[in-house]
């Protein structure tokens, strides 16, 4: 594995291998000193051209748990705002000694370009509305640790799928791992053309309350503004995971959310904090899967099948 850019091209074996490795790092993280020397002396640079404290902290924590050094770049204080190109920035960071790059950018495909320019291993930390593959890996790990497998599970993804890189990455990973995926959302928030997608669709959230997992996406009210949703209360009535709806789900079923949550919109506060909400495990597992990917890209072949 040279880069980690998308879940679209990963095989079931590759995904399972990464999840197995992640399980080992979950164990590492539970130790009194949650740290291994695997990447001592190696340098990972965080290139977050789009602000995201959560994802960035998770990657930094993962790098440090592997004893790697980290460098950080944020556009607010950088020369990028002085007109330096993305390419120059990437090459400068390479020249400073970075050996792997974690890239988040608002433009689809930016991590691919940076991989071409620098030749360094690149981890996609989210590009546009395209891919967020470590999020998919942490979601899959969370589900696998809870249910033992994704094979045969029925998973519904609810909300703004059109603008969601999480959904695109999750759909590929979940279906490759054997789950059946149903998409739920208003037409304004579904992709325009689902040709070739391994999914079925449903009209409203009430149709998917019998699923094993209901995955709620953040409603990004800044996207498309008033022309995609008449109002948030209307959204809640058709697509919100309210307390009443949660009560109609089977006893073994769980809810998930990539965060940050709009409590009271896509998810009711009581549901978010319920023991059958996996939101906290998702966050914790995020560090382990990022360790696994960094280890795979920088550390070598130890865990390769």
């Amino acid at each position: 594995m040279k880069h980690f850019l998308t879940t679209d091209t990963l095989s079931r074996e590759e995904l399972d291998g990464l999840l197995d490795l992640s399980d080992e790092f979950v164990e590492v993280l539970s130790r009194p000193i949650p740290k291994v020397p695997a990447l001592r002396g190696r340098t990972v640079a965080m290139l977050f051209f789009e602000p995201s404290t959560r994802t960035r902290m998770s990657f930094e924590r993962a790098a440090k748990a592997l004893s790697a050094d980290t460098m950080s770049f944020s556009p607010g204080t950088s020369s990028l705002s002085k007109g330096e190109s993305l390419k120059d920035t990437a090459l400068t960071i390479k020249a400073m000694g970075a050996e792997a790059l974690v890239v988040r950018h608002k433009a689809t495909g930016a991590p691919w370009r940076i991989a071409d320019w620098t030749g360094l291993p690149v981890l996609n930390g989210g590009d546009g509305a395209h891919q967020h593959p470590t999020q998919a890996l942490l979601d899959a790990l969370t589900i696998r640790r809870h249910f033992g497998t994704l094979g045969g599970l029925r998973i519904a993804i609810v909300g703004d799928i059109r603008h969601s890189r999480v959904a695109r990455s999750d759909i590929s990973a979940f279906s490759t791992l054997g789950a059946e995926v149903t998409l739920v959302g208003p037409s304004t928030l579904l992709p325009v053309d689902l040709t070739g997608w391994p999914v079925v669709t449903a009209e409203g959230i009430d149709e998917v309350l019998d699923r094993d997992v209901v995955y709620l996406l953040r409603i990004q009210t800044e996207r498309g503004g008033a022309s995609v949703l008449p109002s948030l209360p209307e959204y809640v009535s058709r697509f919100g995971m309210t307390r009443e709806r949660f009560a109609r789900m089977p006893d073994h079923a769980v809810v998930m959310h990539p965060g940050p949550m709009n409590r009271g919109v896509e998810i009711a506060p009581e549901v978010a904090d319920h023991e059958r909400s996996l939101v906290e495990s998702q966050v914790a597992n995020g560090i382990a899967v990022r360790m696994a990917v960094l280890f795979r890209l920088l550390g070598g072949e130890v865990a390769d099948a």
């Binding site: 993305l86 433009a107 059109r162």
Partner: protein, 418 residues
């Protein structure tokens, strides 16, 4: 004496293609026949010798953005593509919205002397869509085609007045059809590929709603109306229907819309970013069919040069536009493969008529101006570099069939392939 013989070619004359020599003297064709002699000779064995190509739609970037291209480098690229005349769009800086600006472009083209450069005039001041440009002045400066290209004239009331006014002058209104309400934040065709990539898409309707509206306004005002860079099957149908009803409507298609579809964007390479965007395979087939049957009158390159560094960015951040002058005929030959008469009708005769250029686009016979291209329809080649100052071409490194071997403008050889 300026004399030249194009020897042993297949000459496209008023009676159709025929093997012959062409004798050119002092900028005119003086004889078409056998065994003609002159000091200077170009061997055209097996090649088509026909009227030089005319491009209705180029961006020469001068004045204002000369680092991308200027009238000289653009003229050189045009000559290398077999063109003897080009219509320069008005989205210069400043926009070509007044007489002196149109005259500057024309004069600069004449100084360079490689192709005839005819400016298009803006329809509105500064191409802002708010106030009519200096249409009289532009007309007097030689402008025959008016377009805000790059922008759509959105305000239907303003466009109606522009059409009435330009109709009085005798000019043609050309529209870059794209409804901005349907293209916000969008960078590629709306469909399966945009959905997968998570990019906002430009629906086909963004073009078709504007063309439908404009056709109604053109009928109301009686103006000659020209659809620029047709990209969808729906637009083709609208133009076909309008023509059947006898409206004075013409249309152009670019080589890239005749050859490539939106699946190219899978690689997220900004060399494939242009507006209108590359559409579906069905759209490409419909546009190509329309070029064959004449619903689309002309090939126009929409030659849009950008500097390498400007395009070497993520797809969504790249400027729109690709170059096209040097590969146009080859791409048409490779992907549409028209017969020679059709090729020259679409690339020379029809565009010369639409542009109002009497010195170009005439079948070769004694007396016509010597604006000529020598084109070898079967020669295979691979573009590796360009004469244009820019290299933003989706055809770089692709093997094409058909090559411009020589270009003659006003009797002078302006290009020869090595």
């Amino acid at each position: 004496m300026r004399e030249l013989v194009l020897q042993r070619g297949i000459v496209l004359g008023p009676g159709g293609p025929a093997a012959a020599d062409v004798l050119i003297r002092e900028g005119r064709v003086v004889e078409v026949g056998g065994h003609l002699r002159a000091e200077k000779v170009i061997d055209c064995d097996g090649m088509l010798v026909g009227p030089g190509f005319v491009d209705l739609h180029v961006h020469l970037r001068e004045p204002g953005q000369e680092w991308k291209e200027d009238i000289e480098s653009g003229s050189r690229a045009a000559a290398a593509g077999g063109f003897t005349a080009v219509v320069a769009m008005a989205n210069t800086e400043p926009a070509t919205d007044a007489g002196h600006l149109a005259r500057y472009i024309q004069e600069r083209g004449r100084e360079v002397g490689l192709v005839e450069v005819i400016p298009a005039g803006a329809i509105t001041l500064g191409r802002n869509g708010e106030h009519l440009a200096h249409l009289d002045e532009l007309w007097k400066a030689g402008v025959r085609l008016f377009s805000d290209d790059g922008n759509t004239v959105q305000d239907a009331g303003l466009l109606r007045h522009a059409m009435e006014y330009i109709s009085d002058l005798g000019g043609t209104v050309a529209q870059h059809a794209e409804d901005p309400g349907l293209t916000r934040n969008a960078h590629m065709h709306e469909g399966a590929v945009s959905s997968r990539l998570g990019m906002q898409g430009i629906p086909s309707l963004a073009e078709e709603t504007i063309v439908a509206r404009d056709l109604a306004l053109a009928e109301l005002t009686g103006v000659r109306y020209h659809v620029q860079h047709v990209s969808t099957a729906g637009t083709v149908e609208l133009v076909r229907t309008a023509k059947r009803r006898g409206l004075p409507v013409t249309a152009e298609a670019t080589p890239h819309h005749l050859a490539l579809d939106h699946t190219e964007i899978e690689q997220m390479d900004s060399a494939y970013k242009m507006y209108p965007p590359l559409r579906s395979a069905q759209d490409v087939a419909a546009v190509a069919e329309a070029l064959r049957d004449g619903t689309i009158d002309a090939v126009a390159t929409d030659h849009a040069p950008h500097a390498a560094a400007e395009k070497d960015v993520p797809f969504e951040e790249a400027p729109r536009g690709v170059i096209g002058l040097e590969t146009a005929a080859a791409v048409v030959q490779t992907f549409v493969a028209p017969d020679p008469v059709t090729l020259f009708e679409r690339m020379s005769l029809a565009p010369a008529t639409i542009a109002g250029l009497g010195e170009h686009g005439r079948w070769l016979e004694p007396g016509v101006p010597a604006n000529i291209v020598v084109f070898a329809p079967d020669v295979r080649w691979t573009p590796r570099r360009f004469v244009s100052r820019s290299g933003n071409s989706p055809f770089l490194g692709r093997t094409l069939t058909g090559r411009v071997m020589a270009t003659v403008h006003n009797g002078d050889v302006t290009y020869r392939s090595e």
